[in-house]
Amino acid sequence: MSKIDWIVLGLTLLTIITYGLYKSRTTKDLDGYFLSNRSMPWYLVLLSIMGTQASAITFLSAPGQAFTDGMRFVQYYFGLPLAMVVLCITFVPRFSKLRVFTAYEFLETRFDLKTRVFTSFLFLLQRGLSTGISIYAPSIILSSLLGWNIVLTNIIMGGLLIIYTVSGGAKAVAYTQQLQFVIIFVGMFLAGYMIVHQLPEGVGFIDALKVSGATGKLNVITTGYKNGSFDWNDRYNIFSGVIGGFFLALSYFGTDQSQVGRYLTAKNNTQSKLGLLMNGIVKVPMQFFILLIGALLFTFYQFKPSPVFHNRAVEEKAYTTPYKDSLQYIRQQYDALNLTQNNLSLAFVNEGHQTAAVENDQIKENLQAGDIKMQKLRVDYKETIKKALPLADSNDTNYIFLRFVIDFLPVGLIGLLIAIIFLASWGSIAAALNSLASCTMIDFHQRFSKPPVNESAVFVSEREYRISKWYTFGWGIFSIFIAQFANRMGSLIEAVNVLGSLFYGVILGIFLVAFYVKRIGGRAVFWSAVVSEIAVVTLFLLNQYEIIGLSFLWLNVVGALLVVMIAWFLQLFHPTRVSVS
């Protein structure tokens, strides 16, 4: 990186920290620290919700996803608007009525203390570990591409945000997320513009889309039907997007304190609902535009020399092994095909301008055939790298966008885009730390500690405020510690998803019973949740040891359904008095 890039990166990060500290002033009590005195307008709630959900991996992985698999990933978000509506009807009014600090507080009112503590514990376990991975995931990409020290990158990625998160709590988190989002979108827009700007002369935005479309990258809507029957293994299609995406969004936004804590900061019920509903309106178009950058990037490499493998550090390492000749052979074939594709793409665009439909169809077919061959060579290349370096990550999807940034963007913009990776991480990590601290304080510390009888309420409140800051700091250090060991977890995105799937299903099941099955009481749901969690972990381990074959994504569904069914049976055979909230 050049000096200018370092200055841009440093200044951007410094601006966020200073702004976070400037906006840190809140009342010195838990309401101020964890809920911004419930004073946020809807647009800050919206930006906070979006900033919490969109991590660095969102901005690195989504363009790479569109580059390799097309834009159909956007369908994964189709269930989100529906989940926002259900949240506004069911979850928000109840949380609002009880004026809770955490989602799990509600469970004590509805069921009992042990169910609340158990659910909050599951959240702390899952969120604490996954925040560590969220720090490591972008750090390893940056350290690999820029040759930075991974330990130091982890500390900067997870450490600097602790300054304003500890100091200002939820208010600092929300205000910095607002500024972070503006910077992120300016940067992403500039990156998209630069891709189109660097296309050959005479090739415009629409031409770029036509080339992307011709090679199947603009497959936004897919049905999942193959040869007349539905393919259950197809992960992203309109049906799995609407149904699966709905349950995923409902459990994430309704039961994960890192999200619940954002909309609890709203001024009132109306602002909270508006924030969520606006999220339902803007989330899908936002993901569409991020994916479009990936599709345009694919077109960009249809006119320019394209790397076979985008993680340069791993590739260079593989070339020092005996597999060097095999890799070189595949690369030569790939480069030759890439050149043919470059010429075909230009011819496709030029013929398109002259509207010679028949000839253009022929070019399109050749373009598609060439792309299939190139994809096959990329697979062969990755498999060879895996053989050469069995422990290295042979999946380069997350490196595609950043490799373009480093290779093709002008000085200054590289620094801004690297800063964006930090800011996107900080947005979600800061919210996670705030929610981890709020659960530790509200669901455990405050619930189980008994302050001396002669202490004044103001004194107790200020002491809890100070201790909450230490909890935030402690969780920050814990996450960085986990990040240092995350390199042993294999594919990182998958590790986060697997961790989530182990706990999300059971937590969602508990909340579903709480909201929709009024006749089930605390004892039934608690033991049902314990048994279900053991069952989910057992299924996961059986799959790990290849005794059964079950994708981790199904653990969400299994966990939620098991909780509801077992609780139903327990209540049926051992009826207990149901508390009414």
């Binding site: 009525k97 603009l218 936004v220 009132n268 019920n269 509903l277 178009p285």
Partner: protein
């Protein structure tokens, strides 16, 4: 979050907001379907 008065902006009922969100989703899906077909 204060319970506060539920003064709904733009519409008279929240249900109208919910319909708007679902309508936007439907329009987006129709646009995406057209987009996929047009550029394929």
């Amino acid at each position: 979050m204060n319970k506060g008065s539920d003064d709904i902006p733009l519409f008279k009922k929240w249900s109208q907001w919910y319909v708007l969100v679902i309508m936007v989703l439907v329009i987006l899906i129709i646009f995406f379907a057209w987009f996929t077909k047009y550029f394929s």
